[in-house]
């Protein structure tokens, strides 16, 4: 151990070793996110590229999001009718389904679809551009790659995610209504009436805000992974895997944090059952 006398920072304790890489990634990601957010406000504003991304993310995801929403609403209605049937509370099925959808399921499932469809595409595309030197080429042509590649994607995700969540909400509610009223013979009036009294606008806006934040962050993670890809086709594959896995974990982590913060303020009681 005699050669360890040179000056320098003390080596971190052994138990920190497995945490080193995650902390490093988190630091790099924060730096990347900071630079990207700064690039949003720096001209040129690439409206054309934003439109291309919106078309791909929002319009292109409508069918998948709608289909996911339909089945989610249907299965949620089945389960709720069964569970509430145990204590004769079927009249609350509509409101329960819609509150679960608006506050949690719609934003989360929509963002999962976004990670699978958009996050993987962004990581692959940026990763390929990195390893084939196309990002270097942008830089040598005096074009900021963050401004050109990352900004349109993250801004588009922040806009698309709430729009798709709204679509998910509508179609899922339609699916739930179909199952509850047409299959399980619940009264349509009760189903809708309870929704009207128990679901508040803030339940929906809360979910939309959550979708926007999560969509923004998971797309940022995907762009970061692609942007930092190295080592050819294999490197791009690794970047895509990390983008999707990291995105999925981030969805649930941010969901918890966002919900905890939004519920920490003074709570007003719900709309109540009265007339």
């Amino acid at each position: 151990m005699a050669e360890q006398t040179t000056a320098g920072p003390k080596p971190p304790p052994q138990w920190l070793k497995p945490l080193e890489r995650p902390i490093e990634v988190l630091g790099e990601l924060s730096l990347f996110a900071g630079q990207s957010v700064a690039a949003i406000f720096r001209p040129p504003y690439r409206v054309g590229l934003l439109m291309v991304q919106l078309e791909f993310m929002a319009y292109g995801s409508m069918f998948v999001v709608g289909l996911t929403g339909l089945f989610t609403g249907m299965v949620l209605a089945l389960q709720t009718v069964y569970a509430f049937g145990l204590f004769n509370a079927q009249s609350l099925v509509g409101a329960t389904v819609e509150i679960s959808l608006a506050r949690e399921l719609a934003p989360i499932f929509t963002c999962i679809v976004l990670v699978a469809r958009v996050g993987s595409a962004a990581a692959t595309e940026l990763g390929t551009m990195r390893v084939t030197e196309q990002i270097d080429a942008l830089e040598t042509m005096a074009v900021d790659p963050l401004n050109y590649l990352v900004v349109p994607r993250i801004v588009s995700a922040a806009i698309s995610a709430p729009i798709l969540t709204m679509l998910f909400n509508a179609i899922a509610l339609f699916g739930a209504y179909g199952i509850a009223v047409w299959v399980k013979d619940l009264s349509p009036g009760t189903f809708l009436n309870r929704i009207q009294y128990l679901v508040q606008v803030k339940d929906i806006t809360n979910g939309l805000g959550k979708a926007s934040v999560i969509g923004f962050v998971v797309t940022m993670i995907a762009c970061y992974r692609g942007y930092r890809a190295e080592g050819g086709a294999r490197g791009v594959g690794i970047a895509t895997t990390q983008a999707v896995v990291g995105g999925l974990v981030a969805i649930f982590a941010i969901d918890y944090i966002y919900t905890a913060i939004s519920l920490s303020g003074p709570q007003q009681p719900g709309g109540g059952l009265g007339g």
């Binding site: 551009m129 084939t132 030197e133 196309q134 270097d136 080429a137 830089e139 040598t140 042509m141 005096a142 074009v143 900021d144």
Partner: protein, 254 residues
């Protein structure tokens, strides 16, 4: 026979050092590149050629020393200053680095659309056609990069690099991985680009034959230092042992 007097250097690399993760790559590189010449930087794999050229472009910052290009210190520039500075440069990448989502015409037009918003679409198309003609490409405007051969892609890469008429064009291993005939045509392209556009070219390569074909001056890079520098004739007759060994691999056979 005495060498011609040198013009003042357009690119002046002054004693730069660069390490990656504690591993030294450049160990005091000095190089002067006169205006209007083609300089080839020769060196083996891992000699630091690419790192050196990326310093000239301002993609890397040296640990020590500085790079002066056209009277300006590239190593001390901010992001914004670099963006302005790079508009005077063009770079041709080893793999051409064309944008595969765009047609050939859109690739070549890209720098114009980014930096010359005053140009009309007709003017842009005219310039694109003109630059593609410089590199002897005709009728490929609407093709995508994936539909072109390797040599054609490199030529499109050059057309894109010169479309805004830069003072300096940098080439990263332009002939690596090409067959002899395509190598020949890429060499011709570099010579033509200099003759028709009077640009200063810097080529990094390990292709000795190609280097002696196109170069006005040759610099030999070994283990992070320039070990020999001069006209092709001077370098051919050098006493420097590494350069002799490197050149023998080519001249020894012919």
């Amino acid at each position: 026979m005495s060498p011609p007097p040198l013009a003042p250097p357009l690119i002046d690399v002054q004693d730069i050092y660069k390490s990656f993760n504690g591993f030294p790559v450049l160990k005091g590189v000095n190089l002067k590149i006169p205006e209007g010449t083609t300089t080839v930087i020769l060196g083996g794999s891992g000699s630091g050629k690419t790192v050196l050229i990326k310093h000239i472009m301002g993609l890397f910052k040296p640990d020590r020393g500085q790079v002066i290009v056209d009277g300006e210190n590239v190593s001390a520039m901010s992001r914004q200053e670099l963006a302005v500075f790079r508009q005077r440069m063009g770079m041709v990448f080893q793999g051409a680095a064309l944008f595969d989502s765009m047609t050939v015409a859109d690739n070549v037009a890209f720098p114009l659309r980014e930096h010359n918003p005053g140009l009309s679409e007709a003017e842009i198309q005219e310039k694109v056609k003109e630059k593609l003609a410089v590199v002897d490409l005709h009728g490929v405007e609407q093709k995508f990069p994936a539909e072109l051969s390797g040599g054609m892609r490199k030529r499109v890469g050059l057309a894109r690099a010169i479309v805004r008429e830069p003072k300096i064009v940098l080439y990263d291993e332009p002939t690596t991985g090409l067959d002899p005939l395509t190598t020949e045509s890429v060499d011709e392209m570099i010579i033509h680009a200099r003759e028709r556009l009077t640009v200063t070219s810097v080529v990094i390569s390990h292709d000795v034959g190609s280097a002696f074909h196109i170069a006005d001056r040759i610099a030999m890079l070994n283990e992070g230092r320039v070990v020999e520098e001069g006209t092709p004739v001077e370098v051919r007759n050098t006493k420097e042992p590494f350069t002799r060994q490197f050149l023998a691999t080519w001249f020894g056979r012919t």
